[in-house]
């Protein structure tokens, strides 16, 4: 297990370095630079030169890369070229918002997805399955952007049930915080709920036709216990994997959702930084995202072994 873990950590480090290089080069390969984006319509060659010099953009890529990496290693992510705010504090204030939003979205998506999936599998061929499948198709095919707009138009503007924008930190006012986040979380969770529902349904169907379920039923266990304890538990492993795999989709969905609801989150930070060519912010954001990916994947793998001991045994073999 230890060797396996070390191996995984080493792979992670290589991935991280590669991701950093790809983004460092990629962002500089884009037309335009921070000086141009910053100067906007008020630009003249002299001030562009001054901005480039001020932020070391006139130095070679190698020097810039070394500066970024060496500073980052010390925990210094630089400051935003556009606003002059330290990137570290920008990320620290944006991350909790996105984490809370994502966790809420995962919870909502799991509740809806697993519930609908189990229902569709148990009531196979009935209207419940049709309804669940139809909803899943909608959830997968309707873009977040449109769904968010509709939610604002009908639930915020027409009915006034939820705020259309804004954010209140959890520790300032937990109720207001949830009130502001629930709509974005539902919108963000729709795609994931659909994926979870379909996976739960198919693995539940597999499980329900397995020998051990017949055995359990033959032993006279009530249907609730057969479905909940035996079939569902065994199906959940795939669902956990899916949630882990869908995290990327969730973060890209958060980009859209956060922009629609004006949430000060990580996705909005990233996409705005790209449009403004704010190199230090983009680089730092990617570094943090890549690290998060790697850590979460590691966690998902560890979770497997909690849910299914056989994996742990095989891993050690």
């Amino acid at each position: 297990m230890r060797r396996y873990l070390l191996n995984r950590l080493w792979q992670s480090l290589v991935t991280l370095v590669l991701a950093t290089i790809v983004v460092f080069v990629g962002v500089r390969a884009l037309p335009g630079d921070p000086a141009l984006a910053l100067a906007g319509e008020e630009r003249d060659p002299e001030s562009l030169r001054a901005i480039r010099q001020q932020y070391g953009l006139d130095q070679s890529w190698l020097v810039q890369f070394w500066k970024f990496v060496s500073h980052a290693a010390r925990g210094d992510l630089g400051e935003s070229i556009r606003t002059g705010t330290p990137v570290r504090s920008m990320i620290l204030s944006a991350l909790p918002v996105t984490i809370e939003l994502s966790v809420l979205a995962i919870v909502i998506a799991s509740v809806i997805g697993v519930g609908a999936g189990v229902l569709a599998a148990v009531r196979r061929g009935g209207p419940a399955e049709w309804a669940a499948n139809g909803l899943a198709l909608l959830g997968l095919s309707v873009p977040h952007f449109w769904l968010g707009l509709m939610a604002i138009l009908y639930l915020s503007v027409a009915l006034g049930l939820f705020p259309a924008s804004g954010f209140v930190p959890f520790f300032t006012n937990p109720v207001a915080n949830l009130h502001h986040l629930i709509l974005p979380a539902v919108i963000l969770g729709t795609g994931l709920a659909a994926v979870i529902m379909r996976q739960t349904r198919s693995s539940m169907l597999d499980a329900l036709s397995a020998d051990y379920i017949r055995t359990a039923e033959a032993k006279g266990l009530p249907p609730k216990a057969v479905i909940g304890k035996h079939a569902l538990r065994n199906s959940l492993i795939v669902v956990v994997t899916i949630v882990g795999l869908q995290l990327g989709a969730l973060i890209s969905g958060a980009v859209v959702t956060e922009r629609i609801f004006a949430l000060p989150g990580f996705g909005k930070l990233t996409v705005d930084a790209v449009f403004q060519r704010d190199y230090p912010v983009i680089q730092a954001v990617v570094l943090v995202t890549a690290t998060a990916y790697i850590v979460i994947n590691l966690l998902v793998d560890l979770l497997y072994s909690v849910i299914d001991p056989r994996i742990r045994v095989r891993g050690e073999a």
Partner: protein, 561 residues
């Protein structure tokens, strides 16, 4: 068994590499994708929200103190994130929305686009030779940190504008040689050459006075905790999301301030800004889309303020910018670059009236010159406009020996409003013998292509300044810092320099009229229309005003009783 199979599919190791790889690829793709994906233009109000019924400005009125209650937080939905909150370094138009509540200027603009004193007590006294400006200052004014506002503070701020690395104000201030402070309530600015646009510059960010104590403490990081004189003072900023200012009790006219705080919330999508306005989550929204404005005008709870911009939307033609901006001029060598008749033909093919009516539902005004009809410097000559004449355009092309349809490429921003404009133009100029090919790119990429001279035609606007010099010189003078057309005309250069150095308004009006006539012959830029800033305001709020400089005045507003 199937379950085991699906497990194998997600076996550790291979899966992890794949996921991380996909992650990196997604980010990389997202980055590359920006070069061709839709984006709201930041830092410029060009294209989108270009607006409104011809000539009908609705600036809003000042609040009647008897009708407003004290307190409350106003939420303003802003279409773009301001950049640095440092008047010396700031370049984005949107920072001015925030500055006006916390950083007063020596001069301000009235609703009639005329200059009025703000922290000064009167317009500057200019010496006969035009080389010295004397500015009398208000007394008994305090900065938000308690420091005293005086001539020394003005001197420190102006010197900072002139010397700080990366200053965006240096070129606006002109040839200043020294700043003198004969006493605490008088500043004297000395110039090496007369520079008429200086007073107007002092009615913008160059005229904002920073607290000397804050400047000494924060230096170039002033934007992290800006301190000036204003009805409100800086409270907090969440990067790319919101900025909050709170009432400053030390403000010299604090009795006129009704709100407790103002929060600027950045919402880039115009339809979502409108939705926030309708739901009451925001009480003010800037840059409404011309598509949303008519619906909002019918809404009982919202009113729409309109102010015609001092800027313009136009088509820049690459005449001599083959080498890139700042390098020696070199002709692109194409017929449209070489022959003014071809450019005139293009200008004649554009039906500005139809453009304004069909594309913006009549919410717009035609522009044929860089001088706004609202400017103090307008004249009949400056507003002359050659009529739409596709037949003449074809004739001119024939005279120039250019076979039709003549194919030209136009680079434009890839936001929906710009694309609609480009398509309308494409249809229009066909009649005049042009085959317009649209090349949409993202905003930052557009600026890059523009400066490198990598375009034939380019559609972009200018948000406009009070003094016409700032709307013309940079763009069409040979040495203009943004002469991306690569245009060079000794006649225009002379007219512009004379206008810049003249302190006689009538003389300047005449000179700008002559400049316009010359520009319409040479057409380095084809001026098309003037945008109107549309601002949505909740009727619960009184006293919101919008002036021709496009800045939304929120500082003295209040909620209705």
């Amino acid at each position: 068994m199937t379950r085991r199979l699906s497990l194998n599919r997600f076996m550790p190791g291979t899966r992890q590499r794949t996921v991380a790889g996909i992650g990196a690829a997604v980010v990389a793709l997202a980055l590359v994708g920006t070069a061709c994906s839709p984006v709201e233009q930041a830092g410029s109000d060009s294209s989108s929200s270009s607006q409104s019924t011809a000539g009908q400005d609705v600036f809003g009125t000042a609040a009647d103190a008897a009708q407003v209650k004290q307190g409350g937080t106003l939420t303003v939905a802003l279409s773009a994130d301001p950049d640095k909150l440092d008047p010396t370094l700031s370049r984005s138009l949107y920072s001015r929305y925030v500055f006006h509540t916390m950083c007063e200027k020596l001069y301000d603009l009235g609703p009639d686009a005329k200059l009025v004193p703000q922290l000064a007590t009167a317009l500057p006294t200019i010496s006969a030779d035009g080389l010295s400006l004397t500015i009398p200052l208000k007394q008994g004014v305090k900065f938000a940190d308690g420091g005293t506002f005086d001539s020394n503070a003005v001197k420190i701020s102006l010197n900072r504008d002139l010397t700080l690395a990366g200053s965006a104000r240096k070129s606006e201030l002109g040839p200043i040689t020294s700043i003198e402070t004969p006493d605490p309530k008088t500043v004297v600015i000395k110039l090496s050459k007369p520079f008429a646009p200086l007073t107007a510059a002092l009615a913008d960010r160059a005229g904002m006075v920073l607290s000397p104590a804050a400047v000494a403490k924060l230096g170039a990081n002033f934007s992290n905790a800006p301190v000036c004189v204003g009805p409100f003072k800086f409270a907090s900023r969440v990067a790319q999301n919101s900025i909050k200012v709170v009432k400053d009790p030390q403000y010299y006219d604090a009795a006129k301030v009704h709100l407790d705080a103002i929060e600027y919330r950045i919402i880039t999508d115009s339809s979502i800004r409108s939705a926030n306005l309708k739901s009451g989550d925001a009480q003010v929204a800037d840059s409404l889309s011309t598509q949303d404005a008519p619906t909002l005008q019918k809404d009982d709870s919202v009113s729409v303020l309109q102010s015609q911009s001092l800027g313009y939307q136009g088509l820049t033609i690459n005449i001599g910018n083959a080498n890139g901006l700042g390098n020696p001029l070199k002709s692109l060598g194409t017929p449209i670059a070489k022959d003014p008749r071809v450019r005139q033909a293009l200008a004649l093919s554009i039906d500005r009236d139809a453009l304004v009516k069909s594309l913006f539902g009549g919410l717009n005004t035609v522009a044929c010159s860089p001088v706004s009809p609202k400017s103090e410097f307008t004249s009949d000559a400056a507003q002359a406009c050659p009529a739409h004449d596709p037949a003449k355009a074809k004739q001119l092309l024939a005279d120039a020996g250019v076979p039709t349809p003549y194919k030209v490429e136009m680079v434009t921003s890839n936001n929906p409003d710009s694309l609609r404009l480009a398509q309308a133009l494409q249809g229009m100029v066909k009649e005049g013998g042009f085959d317009l090919v649209i090349k949409p790119v993202e905003y930052a990429a557009l600026l890059d292509q523009q400066d490198r001279g990598d375009f034939e035609l380019l559609q972009l606007g200018w948000s406009g300044r009070v003094d016409p010099d700032a709307n013309i010189f940079s763009f069409v003078a040979t040495t203009g810092s943004q002469n991306v057309s690569g245009y060079s005309s000794p006649d225009v250069d002379k007219l512009l320099t004379d206008a810049r150095q003249s302190t006689d308004q009538a003389e300047r009006v005449k000179l700008y009229g002559e400049v316009v006539a010359k520009l319409q012959q040479d057409d380095p830029i084809i001026y098309m229309y003037r945008q109107r800033n549309l601002t949505g305001v909740s009727k619960k709020l009184l006293g919101i005003q919008v002036y021709p400089d496009g800045v939304i005045r929120t500082a003295f507003a209040g909620f209705a009783k």
